[in-house]
């Protein structure tokens, strides 16, 4: 079972993931540069390595490669209202 106390006694596993985050078996504490303590009680935590995340220190998928979308008749990419439009894609809009 994830988060089981039975893990005590065996080392926590860290998985290196290409250009993605470090995967660390949880629960885990991360200490930031300024001494701030972050805690994740998840079965696995994904720790950002690209430094682009907006949910520091946890991965938020900001490492993904960015591509220009296909133009679309109703497209709104030329709008200049100053809002951030580079916040990612989805074919599905739901949460999991």
């Amino acid at each position: 079972m994830p988060n089981s106390p039975e893990r005590s006694g065996r080392p926590a596993r860290v998985t290196l993931g290409g250009d993605g985050p470090l995967l660390v078996e949880g629960p885990v504490e991360v200490v930031g540069d300024d001494g701030t303590l972050y805690t994740s009680r998840r079965f696995t935590a994904a720790i950002c390595t690209c430094r682009k995340t907006r949910t520091h220190p946890w991965c938020d998928t900001s490492h993904r490669r960015r591509v220009k979308p296909e133009p679309h008749p109703d497209d709104a990419t030329d709008r200049t209202d100053g809002t951030d439009r580079t916040d990612g894609t989805d074919r599905t809009d739901g949460a999991a």
Partner: protein
């Protein structure tokens, strides 16, 4: 905060029929008599009638309906009818995907982020132009899935083993609150609905949901209930987990902008972080494990990924067309 009211404490009433097939199914459940229809005929596989008939039949495996005998779940005549509805649905999905069976290729398109809004994404629309009524409609429609979030995927667990099973169960454990009732994702969703002043009773918005919404949920039930489609179920799960983090961040921003309460934001904030983890685990160990054990399932996994995209694209087209013409995306007014 008011005391939590469990959405699934009661089963919903049967919905209103949308044609002869759904009419037969609903009448059979109401009267206990065998359905007379045995085939889908020329019904549109993505249309309201077939999708509602299928939805009602699948729902017998989850929460059932008020005053409907629970034994109908295994009624051979109803199961036979269900099969005759599943076949054209599945055929239409296969026709609409035309996958070349390559999982890497199917996932690759989901693992990049467009610079800007391509005009097809619901979460981009809501992030930038969404008003409170759009978000309420969206939350009401998605409640058909999210009030049973991750339940359809639990069907696949007995069909997996080894690495794929261990990883799938770990992700599902997170979805089901990691041992804490208050953190079950379906419950976080009910809290979100409460923040948006929506009715949280399970199935309340079924009559309001167009076929394109029903199809996205029927897809999960279809893949989940058939062992032969276990690869497609895993592909579906991966597609949702991979795309959830960035989409959830946009929805959290939209909710914040329209002044929704903290529970509404928490649901999506939780998914930004959780699904960044789930994506990694599902790709690496659920798909990786399943491909190592059963490499012949690769085309099915790719099919599951692409079928998810097909139905989500259809739904997005419907929602955006309605909202851009300033009209409701629901079949009837919200309240």
């Amino acid at each position: 905060m008011p005391a939590y009211r469990e959405p699934r404490r009661r089963s919903p009433a049967l919905p209103a029929p949308r044609g002869p097939l759904s009419g037969e199914v609903i009448a059979a459940l109401r009267t206990g008599e065998a359905p007379r229809a045995h085939a889908a005929g020329d019904a549109d596989p993505f249309g309201d009638d077939l999708q509602l008939a299928l939805y009602v039949l699948y729902e017998l495996h989850y929460q059932g309906f008020e005053d409907v005998d629970e034994e109908h779940e295994w009624d051979p005549a109803l199961l036979g009818l269900r099969r005759s509805l599943e076949q054209p649905f599945l055929a239409a999905l296969r026709e609409g995907t035309g996958t070349d069976g390559d999982v890497e290729a199917a996932l690759a398109g989901l693992l990049v982020e467009p610079v800007g809004d391509d005009g097809h994404s619901v979460s981009h629309f809501l992030r930038h132009d969404g008003e409170l009524w759009h978000l309420r409609e969206y939350a009401a429609l998605r409640s058909l899935y999210h009030l049973k979030e991750a339940d359809p995927h639990a069907w696949v667990i007995p069909r997996l083993y080894g690495r794929a099973k261990a990883a799938m169960v770990a992700v599902e454990f997170d979805e089901f609150g990691a041992g804490r009732e208050a953190d079950i994702h379906a419950r976080l969703y009910a809290d979100l609905m409460g923040d948006l002043s929506l009715e949280t009773a399970y199935g309340h918005y079924l009559d309001a949901a167009p076929a394109d919404v029903l199809a996205t949920v029927n897809l999960m039930s279809l893949f989940g209930l058939h062992r032969s489609l276990r690869g497609a179920l895993v592909g579906h799960f991966a597609a949702v987990e991979v795309t959830s983090s960035p989409g959830s961040r946009r929805l959290a921003a939209a909710l914040k902008r329209v002044g929704a309460g903290p529970a509404a934001q928490r649901f999506y904030d939780e998914h930004v972080e959780a699904d960044a983890v789930h994506e990694q685990v599902v790709r690496r160990d659920v798909i990786g494990g399943l491909l190592a054990d059963e490499p012949h399932l690769e085309p099915d996994i790719a099919f599951g990924i692409e079928a998810t995209g097909l139905l989500e694209d259809r739904l997005a087209t419907r929602l955006l067309a309605a909202w851009r013409s300033n009209s409701t995306a629901l079949r009837g007014p919200l309240d």
